[in-house]
Symmetry: C2
Subunit: 313 residues, 2 copies
């Protein structure tokens, strides 16, 4: 489970930061990649990564501002042109369907894969045996959603040494024990698999928010998250500006991470008013409040850590 | 009058060629720039040029395929965001209006400048005292237009030395003579300005075609043009492929330039199937038919020459 930032700027593309998109790479977990937002030229950014568009199975759109959606029609078309045939689902606020339909129909873009577009509200918008995605409304003037992606816990590791000590010889039986079954050996001994499993491996939680002012739902979505990705359009001193334009400051993002008990924070959606030289200061402002803060930059990749090494073994 | 290529690839963006857009810089002539097509990330390409979006007063869309229009909503929004207040007109085939309207309304993009969208047919689609733009239909499966941009002839240069020899002293009167007026001097002598003007400076003609198969209208639009910009999606040997996909080969573009009596040709809309190493061969194929062939590449700039030095003096 890795995140890779494809665009980390605000509003308009700039030389060093493209408009918004984040890839959540679930290649080990499900052989798939999810995108969160798809600003113009997201497909161009992808050309500079190892992401294959056909691997992208879901796209979550936080809100309909142009810098978060104008790359969608081009990406959808190119995914088909480049041979993508597996289904793709786009989740987004009401209006996303009309935008996609008009863009594809006017341009006579015929997709060779099934495209599902789901207009979302608050609640669990996706769930299977691996992942759950919860959406909640933020505070951005227009409808803007934050997403909490929860990986389900995985069963613990089979304790092979302890099994051998208990006289259970390795063989196909190990597989059944690992699945937690109760097995009767040839000598009549009954072995309960769950007695030989380590603690379950806790799933990870990643919270990716759309543009927003500080609001209670941000904190709720980020509760104990392993990683929070939060916009920080303005610096600490521009709180009024952030309020006026429905955005957040570095300090506000950090306070949300702290209050939610998140384990790490990435600042993104950085305004182009801040030149490269100003970036370290932006990070410092946030670190003063939440030490585990990092700043996103385009193409940066980050592996979401599990809760602790002990719990993983 | 310069052209600058912003995207010279076909269908999908590639590392070395973005999707279609050409800027026609008329800065000396009218302090303005015109765009022809606006594929995704055209505004990103502009960041690497000296073009200021507010200077762009007209955008001509040849056809509605995604690689020619998906950069439009983002460009329109950014032009406003960056302070553009002067009017902008977009000309394009039927459907362009719906695409722009839905994109801007769904994304709540409010432009601070007047935007006019004109759905065009064949004929003169724009004309003022400087320029005329004629559109004709090409052959591309969907409606695709080619554009012939004609600069009007400028009056000849005032022949100052000859005037002095004729006893006309320099003064405000020169301005009236330059305008071709007839003036009576204090001594009663009558001077006709047109007798003292050099030959008119011929306007230039640039022909910019949308995607197309070989067709009579391409040739008509390119008749005696100073510059023809023609797609060459495929190489000489792929004539059947070009036909099947409604495109042209290098050789077909060159033959059109030759048959039309154009003075120079740029090949553009080059498929990404041709790696950098193959580009010289593509140009050679065309040069064998039309020696004044050049290949476009992203950001290349070219000054459109006037007919001849003599005619300019
Ligand atoms: Zn926004
Ligand atoms: Zn086309």
């Amino acid at each position: 489970m890795d995140v890779q930032f494809l665009g980390t700027g605000a509003g308009v593309p700039a030389k060093f930061r493209n408009v918004s998109s984040v890839a959540l790479k679930l290649l080990e977990e499900r052989g798939a990649i999810w995108l969160f937002d798809c600003g113009e030229a997201t497909q161009h950014q992808i050309l500079h990564t190892n992401i294959r568009p056909r691997r992208i199975e879901k796209i979550f759109i936080s809100h309909l501002h142009g810098d978060h959606i104008f790359g969608l029609p081009g990406f959808l078309g190119s995914r088909s042109f480049q041979g993508g045939e597996s289904p793709l689902t786009v989740y987004g606020p009401e209006g996303i369907k009309a935008f996609i339909e008009v863009s594809l129909s006017v341009s006579k873009t015929h997709l060779r894969y099934p495209l599902h577009v789901v207009e979302i509200g608050e609640g669990i918008i996706f769930s299977d045996d691996q992942f759950t995605v919860e959406a909640r409304k933020l505070d951005h003037g227009i409808q803007s959603f934050g997403f909490r992606i929860t990986e389900k816990d995985a069963p613990g590791v089979l304790q092979v040494e302890r099994l051998k000590e208990a006289g259970v010889a390795p063989g196909p039986i190990y597989k059944r024990l690992k699945a937690g079954e109760t097995v009767t050996l040839e000598d009549g001994k009954v072995i309960n698999g769950t007695d030989f499993l380590g603690p379950p491996v806790p799933g990870r939680t990643v919270t990716i928010l759309g543009d927003t002012r500080v609001c209670p739902n941000s904190r709720a979505l980020a509760e104990s998250a392993d990683l929070l990705i939060h916009e920080a359009t303005f610096n600490r001193d521009q709180e009024q500006m952030a309020r006026d334009y429905f955005h957040s400051t570095t300090a506000q993002a950090a306070a949300t991470a702290r209050d939610a008990g998140a384990r790490a924070l990435f600042l993104t959606h950085i305004s182009s008013r801040y030149a490269k030289e100003a970036w370290p200061e932006l990070v410092q402002e946030a670190k003063a409040i939440f030490p585990e803060t990092m700043m996103a930059h385009d193409l940066l990749e980050f592996t979401v850590p599990r809760k602790s090494m002990e719990e993983q073994s």
